[in-house]
């Protein structure tokens, strides 16, 4: 059939697709950072840990108060708390042999503030 020049030039797409759009999108570095924080929260056990700590009237929660309600082994709970501490969501304070955890003030607010502009 006739030659429609397959190789050289793309026929200008007349349809309404592929508008270039202003690039007000999230930068790759910012997306990477936010993804790391969300990944730390995106686990049922860790969400419950944060929830338990947030529900405490006291400023800090002992690690021993986490293991039983979660139904997980002690190393696993320790692993999850480490992930949350490394993500800047929890504070660890060691008092004697016990480890007390508390929410880092403003950490979850920053998460919400990062999601809000996407609404």
């Amino acid at each position: 059939m006739d030659a429609m020049t397959p190789g050289t030039a793309l026929p200008v797409l007349d349809a309404a697709c592929c508008v270039s759009s202003g690039d007000a999108a999230m930068a790759p570095a910012e997306a990477e950072t936010l993804a790391r924080t969300l990944k730390a929260l995106a686990d049922p056990a860790r969400l419950r840990i944060v929830s338990i700590i947030a529900a405490q009237d006291a400023g800090a929660t002992c690690a021993c108060d986490l293991q039983e309600p979660l139904g997980l082994s002690q190393p696993t709970v320790s692993h999850h708390t480490k992930v949350l501490v490394d993500a800047g969501i929890l504070n660890r304070e060691k008092r004697g042999t016990w480890a007390y955890f508390s929410l880092v003030p403003g950490a979850l607010d920053r998460v919400a503030a990062a999601i809000a502009p996407l609404r």
Copy 2:
């Protein structure tokens, strides 16, 4: 039946650790659901997809507008959009050969609302 009600029969623990605490914590099922949603968001590529779509003034964004800024292959972009659609974050609307995506109204608000009580 156990011996006594859990609150009264507890032998007084020597130290100040392991206070029983009121169980106002997140329920396991709720944690599982929220974790699934957060897992869908906890990826740099998917965050940028949501960001690009949210930044569009138009109501919907063509899939072809996603591949180039992300620098990922077409199957990978299709995979990520599927994850976001399955999580109830994006809407897919097929117009001819093109697929248009838009934010599900209120979806990200619900995520923020689930995180807020933990502050």
